[in-house]
Symmetry: C2
Subunit: 201 residues, 2 copies
């Protein structure tokens, strides 16, 4: 009895094999040497199967990143109780993807894929600016929801994207300056003056 040649289970297995093959080849060879043919061969699928789901290798890589097969773009920010520091830590980790061995050029590949494909573009923003990040930002700003919160989220991630595009460094101090500018310095100033030394007298 012949098994059905397609269906949800088979499709999901193929999809995962493609994402894993893409991640593995990227790590071995780098983005410039990655081809749809190579991914198809390693995944054991036809090239047309890949093109059925993704228009370019950049889109395959974008999905591999978003699903956690590569890098940790969706890693949640820490939760230390200091939302400003948590945000800065998250930004530093996001930006440091640039300098990881498999990450050279990868954040930029993701950006290029987002530029070329609407769905990848929507996912770039929606999945990186997910609930855990928005919660830290909301806490740090003292704003529950609304256009100010959305603008702040766009500003944080957008600044990282721009620095990645312009190939400029963005150190931990720069990240804190960015968070300070966006979140405002007032909640922090209150915390600072609430330290024991400041409250004496």
């Amino acid at each position: 009895m012949a098994l059905p040649r397609s269906g949800p289970v088979r499709s999901e297995a193929a999809r995962l094999a493609i994402l894993r093959a893409a991640a593995s080849l990227l790590t071995e060879r780098g983005y410039d040497h990655l081809t749809m043919e190579g991914i198809a061969r390693q995944a054991g699928v036809g090239k047309q199967t890949i093109y059925r789901w993704w228009p370019s290798k950049g889109d395959v890589i974008a999905e591999a990143i978003l699903e956690g097969h590569l890098l940790a773009a969706r890693r949640e920010p820490p939760d230390t109780g200091d939302a400003r520091a948590d945000l800065a830590t998250w930004l530093v980790e996001l930006f440091s993807l640039r300098s990881s061995p498999e990450g050279e050029g990868l954040l930029r590949s993701f950006i290029a894929a987002a530029a070329g494909n609407a769905e990848t573009g929507r996912r770039l923003r929606a999945e990186i600016l997910a609930a855990p990040l928005m919660l830290r930002l909301s806490r740090a700003m003292g704003v529950a929801t609304g256009p100010r919160l959305d603008a702040a989220a766009d500003a944080l991630l957008g600044a990282v994207i721009l620095r990645a595009l312009s190939r400029e460094e963005f150190g931990a101090d720069d990240m804190l300056a960015l968070v300070d500018v966006i979140v405002g310095t007032h909640p922090r100033a209150e915390e600072d003056t609430a330290s024991p030394a400041a409250s004496v007298g």
Copy 2:
């Protein structure tokens, strides 16, 4: 006597012819139908002349934008005396490039070119975040220079880039919210309470 076949003058004429041809073809046919061959034909140069200076059509377009042959990405912000409003106006104009007839996809093409080419990436940031914009921002923040000013500039332009990538709307109110978040609401609050109605009593 034969004229020299190359030299600074001839090169500059060819360079300008290429940029103008690229701008003209893009407006006529759209980015997807733009090819290096087509640009070369219209400019009356060999394709290799184009590749000598630019690795891809995206890079030609990026340079055409930066030099003002297409769109007005480098347009200075207005100077009305209200630096916050000037910044919001500038952001709205920058983002509206998206919806201009020749601008469909163009901002994203520029971003993709910046992702693929380091020099284009550097120019994207350095030339759009030029002196007139930095001056308005400096005024609005009350900060002359330093990492906070740089972070604020990255946040403004980065937010526009991210919204363009994610294909989400970014209306005038959103731009004002963005400026408010980044510049801080305090100078504006002072201005508001200095109005005649508020100062009575």
